[in-house]
């Protein structure tokens, strides 16, 4: 198996070198640079749309789904490598040229390489990787997200001024939903004369969600979806090519 893995690595290195050579040699061909990628895009999109019209019990449906999912998973995995190459080279440059805050780039690279090493070596079951995940990644991630609570509160303080009818509606809906989500909200609500005893704030929050939020979100979703579909058709037909880069 080790021999086979070695062969696989050599095979992909040779393949990559050959691709780069071919890429450099044929870089002036307009057909290869523009028309063929557009044909690829069209073909892929049409295959996926075609799959929609095949009954799920037909083996062809499963084959197309399996093939397209595998392709996307493999290509996306390689696309991630591009991002990581960029991250590592940028931080190496920062360290070698002693840019401002270069010391932190060392911390970043250390975090990246240590996590990658233990993760690739032992998988998710590894003791060291598990330690990094549980005591570094998870706490830092939830702290980063939770810190937004402070910024959201400060933004709300500035934005939530009942200066107009619309702003008042926004403020009222937000306050009712927030009160409806906590026990303290129900307690405070019960002190409001008449309505406080008549119904609970959590019921009111649920009603807002069920009626107004559903209506508003559905309207936005319908508009955005029609836009998505139109943009997708433009991409498939080659009218929209901005994803090719600045050259187009």
């Amino acid at each position: 198996m080790a021999l086979f893995n070695g062969f696989l690595i050599v095979f992909f290195i040779v393949l990559f070198a050959a691709l780069i050579f071919v890429g450099q040699t044929l870089r002036t061909s307009q057909f290869l640079r523009r028309k063929l990628p557009l044909a690829f895009c069209f073909f892929m999109g049409v295959i996926i749309i075609f799959q929609f019209f095949i009954p799920p019990e037909n083996p062809l449906y499963k084959e197309i789904e399996d093939l397209s999912t595998k392709w996307i998973q493999i290509i996306s995995s390689f696309a991630l490598v591009i991002g990581l190459i960029s991250l590592v080279t940028m931080n190496f440059n920062k360290i070698s040229r002693k840019y401002e805050d270069w010391q932190y780039a060392v911390v970043l690279l250390l975090g990246f390489f240590v996590t990658t090493f233990y993760g690739l070596r032992d998988g998710f079951e590894g003791k060291e990787f598990d330690f990094i995940f549980n005591y570094m990644y998870v706490p830092m991630q939830s702290t980063m997200f939770s810190i937004l609570a402070f910024f959201v509160a400060s933004a709300a303080f500035r934005a939530f001024r009942a200066r107009s009818r619309e702003a008042t509606l926004l403020l009222t809906a937000a306050v009712i939903v927030m009160l409806g989500r906590v026990e303290l909200g129900s307690v405070l609500w019960s002190y409001i004369p008449f309505i406080g005893n008549y119904f609970d704030v959590s019921d009111l929050a649920q009603w807002i969600n069920k009626v107004f939020t559903t209506a508003g979100q559905r309207a936005i979703l319908l508009g955005a979806s029609l836009g998505y579909i139109a943009a997708s058709f433009k991409i498939l037909l080659g009218i929209e090519r901005s994803y090719f880069g600045s050259e187009e």
Partner: protein
């Protein structure tokens, strides 16, 4: 150590037997990093920057590991290993069990060892492996060609594949789930209101809610209709009501977002005060 002097019962790093506790060290590291990130609330400082850069590095590493073990390994590396091993065993006639079901069906078909069957097997094996594994791997390698400016144009092929796939998926799934299904869900029935025996307040309330929902939806869509000026007897008031519905939607969404962040904040404080300082059980 003034906090120790105040009598805080921090999570010990050492176990009762004398050994080092991995969990204790982990909790201390997590607590220091948590406080490091919260220190940004005062101002940008060394502890925050350290935690921030470490988070980016660890996240990037975690994403790479996740992608490798969840996608690249099961979609490319393991199948290639499995197919090649089975192919070698079938061709050499080794008495080793064949793992892959597709290859197993070929093995039973090849009993008798005719030249035509063997040729057909090798041909379909090459087609399957190339189409499912080698070709997407070539597209993946083309993506990495972006590193070389003269060959960077090769990355247009994998990009076109991903964008084409995404567009195809978007057209069919969005049309189905976000347009047709949403429209279908908006066609509510008021029949129970007309077939009601006596006064049933639950049916009346349900119908009123449904009416308000449809009215809100139509008015919010009218607000997004820009081909005519929002004036007159219908478009003007409808557009205004649409704005109110959207404002309530945004307010409610904001409220839910705030509460989700607050829940995370409570979780972090529970960790600091419970697991680390051991003040809260």
């Amino acid at each position: 150590m003034p906090l120790f002097a105040l009598g805080f019962n921090f999570r010990p790093v050492f176990e009762a037997g004398g050994g080092v506790s991995t969990e204790g060290i982990g909790i201390w590291i997590a607590a220091i990093l948590t406080l490091g990130i919260y220190s940004f609330l005062y101002k940008d400082n060394f502890f925050y920057k350290f935690s921030e850069y470490l988070f980016v590095g660890v996240s990037a590493g975690y994403t790479l590991v996740l992608t490798f073990h969840k996608y690249l390994k099961p979609s490319l590396i393991e199948p290639l290993q499995e197919y090649s091993r089975d192919f070698y065993h079938i061709i050499t006639g080794a008495s080793v069990p064949i793992v892959n079901p597709w290859m197993l069906s070929w093995q039973t078909h090849l009993v008798g060892n005719q030249f035509g069957s063997q040729f057909s097997f090798i041909f379909w094996f090459a087609v399957k492996v190339f189409l499912f594994y080698i070709f997407p791997a070539i597209l993946g390698l083309m993506m990495i060609s972006r590193v070389f400016p003269n060959a960077a144009w090769l990355s247009r092929f994998p990009l076109a594949t991903i964008v084409g796939y995404g567009s195809g998926i978007m057209i069919v799934t969005t049309l189905h789930a976000s347009v047709l299904e949403q429209i279908k869900a908006s066609f509510v029935s008021f029949a129970p209101l007309f077939h009601m025996k006596g006064v049933d307040w639950s049916i009346i309330a349900q119908s009123a809610n449904d009416f308000l929902l449809v009215l809100g939806l139509c008015c919010a869509i009218i607000y997004f209709y820009f081909s005519a000026e929002h004036k007159g007897v219908i478009l003007g008031p409808a557009s205004n009501f649409g704005i109110w519905v959207l404002m309530i939607t945004f307010g409610a969404s904001f409220g839910y977002t705030v509460m989700a962040r607050i829940s995370l904040l409570i979780g972090r404080f529970q960790f600091l005060l419970g697991d680390w300082m051991q003040l809260v059980k």
